[in-house]
């Protein structure tokens, strides 16, 4: 049946009533809480998104915010019903799922619909409607069937998008390319206050003040999500997200942060988590319970690839030696310390033991590979990366070898630089076995323009023989995965300090099936 917007009126009784009253602005209805006043402001200022694709399901997301930086996003405090549709085509001629979702101020008027009953490995288009206003259309894609043979998967991954440090040109490029799924690996917002920036309005209070309370975190997400390039990247493909430190506060570790005693910090963490969930296309299963949130989870793309999405913040031991960049020592090697927490470590290793996929991917926050940052024989490594948790690293990489994990690949962010490395069973011994490949993506903007190879990057390449490629510009990584090989295409932006920078491939790195580590670097 050829239909367009009109079909919205027929999805359900409740939806029809809402739509009808919305179409007759002067007439008051008897509907509870509905005054008949129609708000003509665009409620979809923050765009739409989808995420956490399964073979039969995907989460679609929006948030109603006609005045996005104002309290409650400019919404009043009554509950709202939002209609949604999922179609097999961009024109919404073949609508396969639709319904009504209820939201309100307690959820920042965000909408998370876990759309079920979809077909595997196909594109869908979705949109929302409220008060007679239609959202932009988003495109998404379900995962392949569990045992499907998948000839090729394309994915992108990104991290670290300090809003005030530049333009999201990388996202404009990402949205132009065709990715089946996008991984976001942390630092979606920055919580601290700044006093100047690249972009106009960088000196507005919603950017210059640190976020501590729930209203402040919500406002920060709104400020970031107003960006049209970020919105277009969300609208083009489903995202699978995890968080790192700055969604809460710089370098927090479980309940430890120097800014506050644990009881007080738990309140901040709860506020940060709540705002994070509200603004991400996450399932209800990730809805925070106060300061706790289930974020580590697994996604399978047929027989081709399995992605273990980690949370290395919420359960980690406090950073060794007071954080910073230090020499490894008894603390970093202490087997009682962990970056994953015991339960997540067991979940990861048990999952690997059962894995049947060609590629096994860790999608997570920060580098596993050793990063010696000091020229010469002295070794100085970051205490916040897996270098600060050597025993944890040995258990995970050793555990992968013991379980004969096929084609281990780590994708991560955090460093604000591109770093591609072989993962070694023992980083103290360059001759030890290579057990996997690691692709750390650079930041979307954090650090402003950067340069091809800075002094720090040159040192890293000299001091870390397992490191095969480094770059200090901004960008993201676009990957093509087939049963035979994995190609990581490092997309870099010449300048993020101006609008309309040029995005190009800086290097392509190859991993071959059955051969751990990076096989080839094409520059």
């Amino acid at each position: 049946m050829p239909t367009t917007r009109r079909n919205f009126l027929t999805v359900s009784g409740a939806a029809a009533a809402l739509a009808l009253s919305g179409s007759l602005p002067e007439i008051k209805t008897a509907a509870a809480g509905w005054t008949g006043r129609v708000d003509r402001r665009d409620p979809f200022t923050l765009g739409v998104a989808s995420g956490d694709p399964l073979p039969d399901a995907v989460v679609i997301w929006t948030r109603l915010a006609p005045d996005p930086l104002a309290p409650f996003g400019g919404m009043d405090r009554r509950p709202v019903e939002v209609q949604w549709q999922v179609a097999e085509d961009e024109e919404f001629r073949r609508i396969v799922r639709s319904g009504t979702a209820r939201t309100g101020p307690e959820a920042s008027h965000s909408v998370h619909v876990d759309v079920r009953g979809l077909r595997p490995w196909r594109h869908y288009w979705y949109r929302f409607r409220v008060n007679g206003q239609l959202s932009p259309v988003g495109r998404t894609r379900t995962a392949p069937a569990y045992d499907a043979v998948v000839p090729e998967l394309s994915l992108a991954f990104a991290s670290c998008q300090a809003w005030w440090e530049g333009w999201y040109t990388a996202y404009a490029d990402m949205a132009k390319r065709d990715h089946d799924v996008v991984f976001f690996l942390g630092d979606y917002i920055y919580e601290f206050g700044i006093d100047r920036g690249i972009r106009p309005h960088s000196n507005e209070p919603y950017i210059t003040q640190q976020t501590v309370t729930l209203d402040e975190y919500r406002q920060r997400y709104a400020a970031y999500k107003l960006d049209p390039d970020l919105q277009s990247a969300h609208a083009k493909a489903p995202w699978i997200v995890t968080l790192d430190d700055h969604e809460v506060v710089d370098n927090w570790a479980d309940e430890a942060h120097p800014s506050a005693p644990p009881a007080q910090f738990r309140v901040r963490r709860a506020n940060a988590f709540r705002a994070y969930w509200e603004h991400m296309p996450l399932r209800l299963s990730s809805l925070p319970k106060g300061p706790d949130m289930q974020l580590y989870r697994r996604f399978r793309y047929g027989r081709l690839a399995e992605f273990s999405v980690l949370d290395t913040r919420q359960y980690r031991s406090d950073q060794a030696y007071g954080d910073g960049t230090k020499a490894p020592g008894p603390e970093t090697k202490d087997p009682a310390r962990t970056i994953t927490g015991d339960a997540q470590e067991k979940w990861l290793l048990d999952g690997w033991a059962a894995s049947q996929t060609r590629w096994n991917v860790l999608a997570h926050q920060t580098a596993i590979a050793r990063l010696d940052t000091k020229d010469g024989p002295e070794v100085l490594v970051p205490m916040d990366t897996w270098d600060g948790y050597e025993a944890s690293r040995n258990r995970i990489l050793g555990g992968a070898v013991q379980r004969k994990v096929r084609n281990l690949v780590s994708i991560a962010g955090d460093l604000h630089r591109s770093v591609a490395s072989d993962l070694k069973l023992d980083f103290n011994d360059p001759a030890s076995a290579t057990v996997g490949a690691e692709f750390v993506g650079t930041s979307i903007t954090s650090g402003i323009d950067g340069q091809d190879l800075d002094a720090g990057g040159a040192t890293l390449l000299r001091e870390n023989p397992h490191m095969k490629f480094g770059n200090f510009q901004r960008g993201y990584v676009s990957c093509s995965i087939t049963p035979q090989r994995w190609i990581s295409d490092y997309r870099v932006v010449d300048k993020v300090s101006v609008q309309g920078g040029t995005v190009s491939t800086r290097a392509k790195l190859l991993v071959e099936d059955g051969r751990p580590g990076i096989a080839e670097v094409q520059k």
Partner: protein
């Protein structure tokens, strides 16, 4: 003249002001819980504010979950008249724990310079329970001869460290022991000099003396952490001109006198600190003849 300023009440010394008890509020509607399990307090209980741009008054808002379930709560603020609030909403998760755990956030209150003295109020509401905070707008302090012309006037800086506030060096608090409570200015660019800290005078005035208080506490003595080298500049006809210089300083308080100059603004051009990292000013005072 020192004017009275409301200070932030540190956590743990909460005033039991205006606590909304669950028993004192009548039922508002039949379908909404009439009583709130969130106790609200504000400190201080009443405020005064002056129309100086860099001298906001601060009200500390506290919500405490007195119920048995963890919950989220929204505290809304409704000012009357000319009151300008840095926030009108404070939302937070509130744990239900024993002993009760208060959760606090500050709100800054300003009024325009031309605001007439008078009485206003801020309504504070959670779960339809409401408390009112009286606010008195005080007359502007005298800015004549012998008065500190920089007090509360608009500051601008080359940068400000995230743990500090721009207005901290013109807030009337020159006690270096208060450094950790946001009463001073610290630039945001470590080991990069120069840094600038400017104060725009409310009107061009003849000035001939600057009193600069740099960090000089028991823990952080000036000879190790204070400002070492700086130029004092006056903005005359839109142009900065250096009126005097200080070099090799090791003291916490430095008085600089210079030939009278008709200045629109005064700038401290910070050239180095004794630890060569940050520029730190606890208070900057400007006087004329």
């Amino acid at each position: 003249m020192r004017i009275r300023r409301q200070t932030v009440v540190a956590a743990g010394t909460l005033l039991a002001a205006a606590v909304l008890g669950s028993s004192s509020m009548p039922a508002a509607t039949s379908d909404v819980a009439a009583t709130s399990d969130v106790a609200v307090s504000v400190a201080p209980e009443q405020l005064s504010v002056v129309g100086l741009p860099c001298l906001p008054s601060t009200l500390n808002l506290t919500m405490t979950n007195t119920g048995s379930q963890d919950r989220y709560a929204d505290l809304t603020l409704e000012p009357t008249g000319p009151l300008q609030l840095s926030r009108t909403l404070f939302s937070s998760w509130l744990p239900a724990v024993d002993p009760d755990q208060p959760v606090s956030a500050p709100v800054e209150i300003r009024v325009p310079r031309e605001t007439r003295p008078g009485s206003y109020q801020i309504g504070v509401e959670v779960d339809r329970s409401r408390v009112t905070v009286p606010v008195t707008v005080e007359p502007l302090p005298s800015k004549g001869p012998g008065d500190n012309l920089a007090l509360g006037e608009q500051a601008t800086a080359s940068s400000t460290h995230g743990n500090f506030t721009l207005c901290g060096a013109v807030d009337g608090d020159k006690d270096p022991e208060h450094w950790d409570t946001l009463t001073g200015w610290n630039d945001g660019t470590r080991a990069v000099f120069p840094d600038t800290y400017d104060v725009a005078l409310s009107a061009p005035a003849t000035v001939n003396r600057v009193e600069l208080y740099t960090l000089d506490s028991a823990k952080y003595p000036a000879r190790l952490n204070g400002l070492r080298d700086w130029d004092i500049q006056a903005k005359v006809g839109g142009v900065w001109q250096t009126v005097t210089q200080v070099r090799g300083n090791t003291l916490g308080h430095v008085t600089s006198t210079f030939d009278p100059v008709q200045a629109e603004a005064v700038r401290i051009l910070c050239l180095d600190g004794n630890d060569h990292t940050y520029s730190r000013i606890v208070e900057l005072e400007v006087y004329g003849t």
